[in-house]
Chain length 231, copies 2
């Protein structure tokens, strides 16, 4: 039986809706045959209800932070949407934020999941700032929204207590390589780049034919990794 | 003072998330100056909580159907995301569905809004089936998701009680023209085409510079109207 990949998506008040709805759409697309969807998606958060960045949508996460953090081994992909730095900074400095950063570090120390052979941390847009604050981007080549390159380095340096040696590049997405334990880190550029990144991850995990099927269903021309915004 | 365009987005259980989150993102983007966002977005529905088509997100619409239908004159854009025909058919045949189709017909009979000079019905993906069922697409050239062309005609013919004389074309979006009263009908193709359509509408209402700014913020290459999926 084909493996099923479990995705956990962190929702928080102020998160950009397209940052998380693009990937959720991609990971929830059905096969043409009516066979099972190869992913499960679980949304989780600290809050019972969250308001997105536009303050238009009210969402109810399915799982609590505790549900996911106490069961980390069960997930193949942890996904972090972005927001404004003035939303992220107070969040990450709060007690909840510290627990979140601990969770990311714990996940980064796991081996690939036994059932699938994979383990991925995915950021979309300024979701990369959350990863940077956890310290796991130190020494990596990474990307984020095209207006966030400098602040991403600031977040990474702050977490490193000095020079983080991250290199921020202008790409649609970056496959930043693996943690020591073997967890792959993948950053999308801004907003709609989360769609490209999720298609890339779908291709890595399942294959090009599958990723092309999903792109067809959502009528999205897959863009190239090196085609960074404004480059 | 620049006019503010009021958008009402119909949410229902089974709606495709990217169909409505793409447009909401576009209509909620801020100007670079920190000036006011030129749109307001209100989500509404019959249900207190809805589950999207992926069954992953639980959303709480901000307004009831009654709130919006009793105050139609206040809206510049009514937006309808799509779903599977087997979700839409029972919805549209229910008492709620009949009220919804009445609301669309009532909106289509309004004059352009006094404050803005505009009034638009926008469908994304198979949201066009909802418009077809209301009868307002009869005689128009329209589009929908590339797998929905035949069923769109079926919905329109059923509403017309015979030949609806709609012409379904393969385009990224269609500007289907105006109702007798002057309400403009605009259909997007599948899923991500809702992003293109909302950028097109932004350009129509505010201008190319604004639409290009929004596309830049979300790192989305604007695609061409005639570039229909699979064409």
């Amino acid at each position: 039986m084909a493996p099923v990949f479990n995705v956990a998506v962190f929702l928080y008040s102020g998160a950009d809706i397209l940052d998380f709805c693009g990937p959720i759409e991609i990971y929830s697309t059905s096969p043409p045959s009516g066979a099972a969807v190869p992913f499960t998606v679980t949304t989780f958060g600290f809050e019972e209800r969250i308001k997105d960045a536009t303050n238009t949508l009210t969402l109810v996460p399915e799982a609590t932070f505790q549900d996911v953090s106490s069961n980390l081994d069960n997930y193949d992909i942890l996904l972090f949407p972005g927001s404004w730095p003035d939303v992220l900074s107070p969040l990450l400095e709060s007690e909840n934020g510290k627990a979140l950063l601990d969770m990311i570090r714990n996940f980064a120390r796991l081996k690939p999941r036994e059932e699938t052979g994979h383990r991925i941390v995915q950021s979309v847009c300024t979701g990369a700032l959350i990863l940077a604050a956890s310290g796991i981007l130190a020494g990596k080549t990474v990307t984020t929204h095209h207006l966030g390159y400098d602040i991403l380095k600031e977040f990474a340096d702050k977490a490193a207590g000095g020079e983080s040696n991250i290199k921020v590049v202008r790409k649609r997405w970056v496959d930043a390589g693996f943690t020591d334990a073997g967890v792959r880190i993948i950053n999308a550029g801004g907003v709609t780049s989360g769609i490209d990144t999720s298609l890339f991850i779908s291709e890595v995990l399942i294959g090009k034919e599958w990723a092309d099927h999903v792109a067809d269903v959502v009528e999205f021309e897959r863009r190239k990794q090196d085609d960074g915004w404004g480059a």
